[in-house]
Symmetry: C2
Amino acid sequence: MSFFRSRWVDAPDGVEELDPNQLAPGFRAGGAHCGLKGGGRTDVGLVVCDAEEVSSALLLTRNASAAAPIRVCRERCDAGGIRAAVVNSGNANAETGEQGFADALAMSTVAAKQLGLEQPQVAVAETGTIGVPLPVDAVLVGIAEAAKTLAPDGGSAFSDAILTTDRWPKRCTLRAGGVTLSAQAKGAGMIEPNMATMLCFVQTDAVVEDADVRLHAAVDASFNRITVDGQMSTNDTVLLQASGASGQPLPAGLLEAVLMQLAIEIVRDGEGAVRTGRIEVTEAATQAEAERVARAIANSPLVKTALFGRDPNWGRIAQAAGAALAGEDLNELGAENIDAEELGAEVEEAEIGLRLGRGEHSAHVWFSDLGYEYVKLNAEYTT
Amino acid sequence: MSFFRSRWVDAPDGVEELDPNQLAPGFRAGGAHCGLKGGGRTDVGLVVCDAEEVSSALLLTRNASAAAPIRVCRERCDAGGIRAAVVNSGNANAETGEQGFADALAMSTVAAKQLGLEQPQVAVAETGTIGVPLPVDAVLVGIAEAAKTLAPDGGSAFSDAILTTDRWPKRCTLRAGGVTLSAQAKGAGMIEPNMATMLCFVQTDAVVEDADVRLHAAVDASFNRITVDGQMSTNDTVLLQASGASGQPLPAGLLEAVLMQLAIEIVRDGEGAVRTGRIEVTEAATQAEAERVARAIANSPLVKTALFGRDPNWGRIAQAAGAALAGEDLNELGAENIDAEELGAEVEEAEIGLRLGRGEHSAHVWFSDLGYEYVKLNAEYTT
């Protein structure tokens, strides 16, 4: 099994891995180059469900400086029935004013026309540089070109078209329990977008009646538990589409495992990242406290540099936890309550534990390290 | 004027700069080497007010993983009348259990005995490595040695004894309005303490009746408005002692200007820091919102690397602000509401502005950049 390669993800029983070119039955995808990215790389992607009765769910960033495509999509989050998505990479269309909003709207209108759909049936996602006007004419031509490439084996083409500075594509096609699920994600390459924009598209022929509930739960356990640098993107988008064509329900744990593996891939591919950590905080007084402490540790630059430098420095864990609990009563943690050995171990995925001794709640977060490449990528982007 | 060198600090009218060796009249200080730091550097310091009726105020970190000296001092925060402080550098005495607490208590007891004071009249402060037992016998010998060096011109000796990885000392002796004020601080060198521990001691012969109120207000406007890496130390301590011997009140703005300059020095001397930024957020809906947004920007690694790389990247400001306001209604900020030019300018102190367009509240925070040296210092400490 090459897709489920993280120690933290359990592949569901009997899951079979297919060629990621091959989408779930009933879906087609494709990609084209319109000039947003250099080197002739594809930068416009389309994915469409041919079944008319698609069950869908769409999750968007809560960043108050949300990009134009997010604002276009917000009104259709609760509508369901999203048949297609149009995506560009290389330009985030964020902080681009009314024109940017009109451009994002035009993208979905043109994509809908190409696909014979209504405009509200098409989601728009964009990722790339912020504050740069979208060369919308080129993008609209690109959409028409991408429509010509639509094919059941267009998974990799679509996946390539949504990447920015990812060092490797994140995609899979899996079969289990009589259903097929394909997914494509792009991650936290921070150079070009200057943001950890995360996009993820999931297609399945399973019957998913409560798509919204299922997707929320799976995202809460995966993309909402990762941090590269504590920064929330202006463009994050996750779309789940289920055609129901197989007549079978989603096997338990399949969606969750896929999103978790993709989330960890995104952390692993964090800008300049070398190692991935997972902090598990237990014995917290409340759930909110467990979350707060775990995130404080995962976002602490001292902990992240320790992960990079293989420094099993438990004092930094204690300090970050204490800061997150400022003003509260906390027994001295000491080395005996902090499992930080793997910070210093020769493992790519380091598991770190902290017992607070205050109650019975727990939370965990995955995070990337902080090394020279992060500084290089983010400081030297425009120079 | 060489002390007040930040563009952001206004030196009070008529202030005169004296030799920083020279403490405010009625104070003596000194330092000795006990072996906590290498190279024979002094690592135990004492400062004492000879006047019996000292007015004092003591502010301590709120970190819930507070070090032993903080826990020893907490109970005397409200007592006032702190005649002396004993400090060591090179060992934070944090996460050191009951023994650490006993050691910190012993330090104040021995210092009190040396100075002919009661133990509760002596504050204890420590800074350095976390989780390492304090070699208390050596420290107690060091305290006796330091007591022998006490002198009215011991300001620099005391200042040197509290430094850890600071690249330069932070100290001054000033005269204005008939009073003298001397101050010594140590900053956010992160290597040895693995923490941005900040210590600051201020002595004056002014009459300060509301020392606690005055110190709180001055710290709120200075040390509480700086961030190197968003990390709250286990050991932060600020002590103000006023003998009243001059019979004159503190001139308006003097204490505030001194603490602000010292705070900015600490940012400037942040681990590996090259440039200092000040973000001013205006037009926020509430004061809390202004603070939250300013701190989110100041702690954003994307903004900090932009400051390091001289990248006038206003999109990162918009993104950080939007993340801090997640889920709220925010008009698109755009370049016209963000003054980010100085991120890219040839100035050591960069002023950045953000207008939120939501109300009338404002807040500002000073912060350091994030460059290669930060990673080097923090990743390679133990390797």
